[in-house]
């Protein structure tokens, strides 16, 4: 029984899906766009950015598409007015959290936060912005972390832990003080576990982690995780 595909409706389109698939995966297959920021194919879901929230008919709640599994007969709405509004607020909040100044950012024009803001029509931030003064660590030979541009999507942490296996990066503190830490709050140059594999820089959606003296468009590579996973399966 369990092998039979599930039938459901996304935005009025009749689709079928395998068991245990998430809404996001199914939507991707059918080319239905759901904005995401913390999600990255191949990594475990984090469900922190809340951009991928969708409505399910018959439920007052909103569901994160990246973790909610599909069930038979589900009717999913991905782009209602309410969702559009909420996504804009969400992006505004992220933009206002730290010093995101596109014009002086290394990732200008190569930034997922910037792209999404443009795409979803965030033309101004109605909240007062925080101008943060977090540390920038450029002590490593070529890797740089600028915590003022971090949106805490934890992609770098997950790629470091799950793909590279070094677990050099993790979150420290909590709430509004959350930061990315390197080992025991060390400087990157002093890190004893970092393998300098650059994957964190490749998957960082903004200009928070980048490689010195390299074009950011060359560094960024969202597909590195799924590529590596495929290669690992190959015997």
């Amino acid at each position: 029984m369990d092998d039979e595909p599930i039938e459901l409706i996304i935005d009025g389109i009749q689709v079928s899906a395998v068991h245990d698939a998430t809404i996001l995966e199914v939507a991707k297959q059918y080319g239905i766009y759901i904005p995401t920021l913390c999600d990255l194919e191949g990594l475990t879901s984090f469900s922190g950015c809340r951009l991928c929230l969708v409505e399910i008919r018959g439920s007052p709640k909103l569901y994160p598409a990246c973790t909610t599994p599909v069930t038979s007969g589900m009717e999913i709405i991905t782009n209602s007015e309410k969702l559009k509004e909420y996504r804009k607020i969400c992006l505004s909040l992220l933009l206002s959290e730290r010093t995101h100044v596109c014009s002086v950012c290394i990732a200008n024009n190569n930034c997922e936060l910037q792209d999404l803001s443009n795409k979803l029509g965030v033309d101004h931030v109605s909240f007062e912005r925080n101008w943060t003064k977090h540390t920038i660590d450029s002590g490593h030979d070529f890797l740089v972390i600028d915590r003022n541009r971090c949106i805490l999507c934890t992609r770098c942490i997950r790629v470091c832990q799950e793909i590279e296996g070094a677990h050099t990066l993790d979150l420290k503190n909590r709430g509004k003080d959350s930061q990315i830490t390197i080992d025991f709050d060390a400087l990157w140059g002093d890190s004893c576990s970092c393998t300098a594999c650059r994957k964190c820089a490749k998957v960082c959606p903004t200009g928070a982690i980048y490689i010195e003296d390299e074009l950011i468009s060359k560094t960024k590579d969202k597909n590195v995780v799924s590529f590596l996973l495929k290669r690992r399966m190959y015997k």
């Binding site: 984090f46 469900s47 929230l53 909103l62 969400c90 909040l93 709430g175 509004k176």
Partner: protein, 555 residues
């Protein structure tokens, strides 16, 4: 030396011996040694009483015992003389002497020192707190003498696990942790699962400031909790339970540790419980100061030794909990109800409270109130009765401005809504939540915006930082409220606040974020006038705000 392995019948024997032992005494002086009374010198008082009865040569007819919380915390240190239940308030060593001489030796209660307890106790219905202030939490015999562990014996001898769950279903018991999920349904999910091991987590991490019901319960009656865990374990087939408690509760930790140890000695916990085939272990786990760890999935992360960050559900802990195994997470108060339900039957329990919300609920009554303390009332009682009858109103005859029910993420209810009854559904309709059971009373000396800011401030510092709405959104709410308080608010801030609050409550990942904007939403709903007064007229009824005004906004 190997202690004798106890079996089922021994519980009865212990009870009989203990009852006989206690009957030999004419009087029993119960000195409340809970976290509320100890700072006021209760431990010293205990020693004084022990010395006094020896001095007065009444040691043979009078027993001095340390007990848990009596509930009248404002009148501490509290001493209760049994039989008769004479509550003495604000007892000092000098007064202790008078009590011993007059009451114990001469048999005349000291009327001038008595606590006016009629209304305080009459309107209450003490089920969970039945033993609070009556038994010594360090002595398991005392608990057994009051009928303790007989429910466990009843389960082990006469009921199948399914029958236990059925009994709970009939009782209509709902989780006391805040959301009010039916306990029986939660259990049957896990009981149906055939994987093992299964786990139970008792949630004793009440991080709400101003709430101390669970702590008091654990300090006063630890064995009720352990018995509840045992019955739950029997019903769902779990062999391991964790009690997750706050590290800030040293007394509760000490009492629980000793209680677990004692139960293990008596073979109530461990392998082959009381000679049956049930195996059950209880382990104490300490939290470390994170309010968010009260959330189901966060508590799991914390017990596993990780950062207490919630994860999205599904999968629910019932299918994938601790280390991926089926797990039941239950509030301490819920668990303490279980032995009672088994003893007296589900039908008995379902008659207390309202049909939809059965049973009682403990509340910590604090703030600007004459009679703060720990109370237990039947579900459905109007809030007004709790505040004005049991709590005896506001000090200095001031006016009540709002009652905050449900902790920092609860709602601020104005005077007109005080007649709404206390149950899950009614509270939800007025914008508050049951939460873990805190009622904080605010009088007209407090500014409602300042109060809302205090709660938001708390949630900001306790947010785990995982999801954007909670991490950044709450911070923005706090900043806007601060601006209003300083007198730099903008007119459109009111609209922005309500928009942002609804956004946060709808999009946040876990219960903390979903309920955190409640104080703002309810104050906007019931006290909008004050917001507008702040914005348009720079006027604060409590005269607290506008200390740091900036250049006025233009246009």
């Amino acid at each position: 030396m190997r202690v004798k392995k106890f079996i089922l019948a021994d519980i009865q024997k212990i009870a009989e011996t203990e009852v006989d032992f206690q009957r030999a005494y004419k009087y029993r002086i119960n000195v409340c040694c809970s976290s509320g009374c100890i700072p006021l010198g209760a431990l010293n008082l205990l020693k004084t009483f022990e010395k006094l009865i020896k001095e007065q040569d009444v040691a043979e007819e009078c027993l001095v015992a340390r007990t848990g919380c009596v509930g009248t915390c404002s009148a501490g240190p509290v001493v209760v003389v049994e039989s008769g239940g004479y509550i003495y308030q604000n007892v000092t060593p000098e007064k202790a002497k008078k009590i011993v001489i007059d009451h114990i030796v001469l048999g005349l209660p000291v009327k001038s020192l008595l606590y006016e307890s009629k209304v305080f106790l009459k309107k209450q219905h003490r089920l969970v707190l039945r033993n609070a202030g009556k038994i010594d939490p360090y002595r398991i015999e005392d608990y057994i003498a009051t009928g303790g562990y007989s429910a466990l014996v009843k389960c082990l001898t006469r009921k199948s696990p399914q029958e236990v769950i059925d009994e709970i279903r009939i009782s209509g018991l709902r989780g006391r942790g805040g959301a009010g999920f039916p306990t029986a349904r939660k259990w049957s999910f896990v009981a149906r699962d055939h994987r093992s091991p299964k786990y139970i987590i008792a949630n004793l991490d009440e991080g709400d400031p101003g709430v101390f019901a669970n702590r008091t319960l654990a300090e006063a009656d630890p064995h009720a909790l352990i018995e509840g865990l045992l019955i739950a374990g029997y019903a769902i087939g779990a062999e391991k339970a964790f009690i997750y408690t706050r590290a800030e509760y040293p007394l509760a930790i000490d009492i629980l540790e000793k209680a677990i140890k004692k139960s293990e000695e008596l073979n109530i916990l461990g392998k082959n419980v009381l000679g049956t085939t049930l195996n059950f272990d209880v382990e104490l786990r300490l939290g470390a100061g994170a309010f968010v760890a009260g959330e189901e999935t966060a508590i799991i992360a914390s017990v596993e030794g990780r950062r207490a960050m919630p994860r999205p559900r599904p999968p629910y802990p019932a299918t994938s909990g601790l280390w991926g195994k089926p797990t039941v997470i239950q509030n301490v108060e819920t668990l303490a109800n279980i032995p009672l339900i088994i003893q007296n039957g589900g039908t008995w329990f379902s008659k207390i409270g309202t049909p939809k919300c059965t049973g009682t609920k403990c509340f910590s009554l604090t703030g600007k109130i004459n009679n703060p303390g720990l109370i237990e009332v039947p579900m459905g009682i109007p809030l007004r009765e709790v505040i004005f009858d049991i709590g005896r109103g506001i000090p200095d005859n001031r006016k009540l401005k709002a009652a905050l029910i449900g902790g920092p993420s609860g709602g601020c209810l104005p005077d007109i809504l005080l007649d709404s009854s206390i149950d899950y559904e009614s509270l939800e309709t007025v914008g508050a939540i049951m939460g873990s059971g805190g009622i904080v009373v605010i009088d007209d000396q407090s500014c409602i915006i300042d109060t809302a800011k205090f709660f938001i401030d708390f949630c900001v510092s306790e947010s785990c930082g995982k999801c954007t709405p909670c991490r950044v959104g709450l911070l923005k709410i706090k900043e806007i409220l601060e601006k209003i308080i300083q007198g730099n608010g903008r007119i459109e801030d009111v609209e922005l606040l309500s928009k942002l609050s609804t956004f946060i409550s709808e999009t946040s990942l876990c219960g903390l974020g979903q309920t955190a904007p409640n104080p703002v939403l309810t104050t906007l709903r019931y006290f909008k006038k004050e917001y507008l007064e702040h914005l348009y007229e720079n006027f604060c009824t409590a005269n607290k705000c506008f200390k740091k005004k900036e250049i006025l906004r233009i246009g």
